[in-house]
C-alpha cells in the first residue's frame, strides 16, 4: 500500500492505518519536537501530546500530500505550547529522580550493571544535545533531522517545506556553529 493510500485510510478513520503511519514517522517527529521544545521539557511527554493531537485531528486532513507538513506543524505547535507548561512538572520529577538516585547510591549492589564507557558516551551525547539547543532555531531542526536515519535533503525539504538548497545550507552552517560551540564549551588547558 502506498503512503498516500495509508494517509487516506488513516484520515478516513482507519485506526490501524493511523498506527502504521505514526510508526513510520515518529522518529523524525521526535527530532522536530527536540528542535523546538524548551530545554527542560520532556521529549517523551511531548511526543505523547503530539500522538494525541494526531489521533484527534487526523480526520481533518484532506490532502495526503500535506501530511508531512501537517504532522510537522502539530509537532512544532505542541513543542512550543505544551513545553512551557511541563517545565514545572519536570522540575518535580527531577527532584524525585534525585531522591531515588540518592537511595540507589546508598546501595552499591544496584550499580553492578553500569558500564562506565556507556555512561561516558551517554554523558557526551547529553552535552551535545544541550549544545544543539544553543544553536539558532533556524539551524536546529535541519541539523537534527539530518541525523535521523540519514534523512536526505529532499526528505527534510518535504517535511519542512524549505527548498533543498536552503536545507543543505542550514545543515552546513549549523554543524560549523555546533563545532564552534563545542570548542568554546570544552575545558581549556591551563598554561603555567
Amino acid at each position: 500500500m502506498s503512503e498516500s493510500d495509508l494517509i487516506r485510510r488513516a484520515s478516513g478513520g482507519d485506526a490501524e492505518a493511523a498506527g502504521l503511519l505514526w510508526q513510520e514517522h515518529r522518529r523524525w517527529v521526535a527530532a522536530v519536537v527536540l528542535a523546538h521544545k524548551p530545554r527542560e521539557a520532556d521529549l517523551e511527554d511531548l511526543l505523547q501530546e503530539v500522538a494525541l493531537v494526531v489521533v484527534e485531528k487526523l480526520h481533518q486532513l484532506t490532502e495526503p500530500e500535506a501530511f508531512k507538513g501537517w504532522l510537522r506543524a502539530v509537532a512544532v505547535n505542541t513543542a512550543r505550547a505544551t513545553g512551557r507548561k511541563q517545565t514545572r512538572r519536570k522540575g518535580i520529577l527531577k527532584l524525585a529522580q534525585h531522591e531515588i538516585g540518592n537511595e540507589l547510591a546508598d546501595d552499591g549492589s544496584k550499580h553492578d550493571y553500569v558500564d562506565p564507557s556507556g555512561v561516558e558516551r551517554a554523558e557526551r551525547s547529553r552535552r551535545l544535545i544541550d549544545l544543539i539547543a544553543d544553536l539558532p532555531e533556524a539551524y536546529r531542526e535541519c541539523v537534527l533531522l539530518r541525523c535521523v536515519r540519514g534523512m536526505s535533503h529532499a526528505q527534510i525539504s518535504a517535511v519542512t517545506g524549505m527548498p533543498e538548497t536552503t536545507v543543505e545550507t542550514r545543515i552546513a552552517r549549523g554543524r560549523r556553529k555546533l563545532k564552534e560551540l563545542a570548542q568554546a564549551s570544552a575545558p581549556k588547558a591551563v598554561m603555567k
Binding site: 478513520g13 482507519d14 485506526a15 493511523a18 498506527g19 505514526w22 515518529r26 522518529r27 523524525w28 517527529v29 521526535a30 527530532a31 527536540l34 521529549l43 517523551e44 511526543l47 505523547q48 500522538a51 494525541l52 494526531v54 489521533v55 484527534e56 518535580i92 520529577l93 527532584l95 524525585a96 531522591e99 531515588i100 537511595e103 546508598d106 546501595d107 549492589s109 544496584k110 553492578d112 550493571y113 558500564d115 564507557s117 556507556g118 558516551r121 551517554a122 557526551r124 551525547s125 547529553r126 551535545l128 544535545i129 541539523v143 537534527l144 539530518r146 541525523c147 535521523v148 536515519r149 543543505e168 545550507t169 552546513a172 552552517r173 554543524r175 560549523r176 555546533l178 563545532k179 563545542a182
Partner: protein
Amino acid sequence: MTEATDFNMGEQDRRDILVARVVDGEATSEDWRELRTIAASDQTIWAEIAEQQDLKRELDVAVEDAVSVAERVALPMHEHPSVSPNSRMKLALTAGGWLAAACVGVAWIVGMTPQQTITPATNGAPQNIAMANPITSAGEALAQYLKLGKESGEVLGEMPSSVVIQRTPNPEGGYDVIYLRQIVERTTVDGVYKPATDDTGNTFFVPTSSTTQAKPAEGDAPLPAVW
C-alpha cells in the same frame, strides 16, 4: 588572507557545504576539485573535515539515542474517533471472542478500556472480569489491580513506604503531598541483557546469566516473604 574568518558569507557557506558533503559522503568530483583548490591556499580545511567527521559521528549517536524515545510512544487509539462503542465491540469479537466482547460492552458503560477490565489467564481465555462491581474511584481501581495481579502472579505487592516528592502547605489546612507509590511486579522474559559499548562507541547488548537480586540498603527491613 587564508583564515576562515576572512571569507565573505558566500564563500564561508560554500566552504561549509563542501565540508558537509565530504563528511556525508556525498561530494562529487567537482566538489573535490573545488576543495583541492581551496586547500592549495588553506590547508586547515583538511583538519576542519576531520573535526566535522568526529562531530557528525557523535551527533548521529546522540540524536538517534534522543529520538529513540519515540519507539515507546504509540498512538492512543482508544482516543481515535473511529473507535466508537460499536467498533470496540467488533474489535473484541474479532480478537477475543464473545466473552471479551461482552466485557468490552460493560467496560464501555463504566468508562474503562478493555485492558483495564480483562486479565488474560495462562490459557489465553479472559478471567477475573471486574464487572460485578463497577469501579468508581482510583483507589478501588488500584485495589482491584493489586488483587487481580496477585492472583495471576504478575503483581507481588506494594512496598510499605511511599516516596514523598513534594510537600506544600494547603491554605485550608494540612499539606498537599506528591508522592510515589511503589508496586513490585513480576514478568517473564526470554533473556536478560546488559548494555556494553565497542571500541567504535556503538552500543550493543550482551546476555547476562547472573541472577541479580537487589539487596536492601543497610537498616532497611527485608522484603516480606509473603505479600
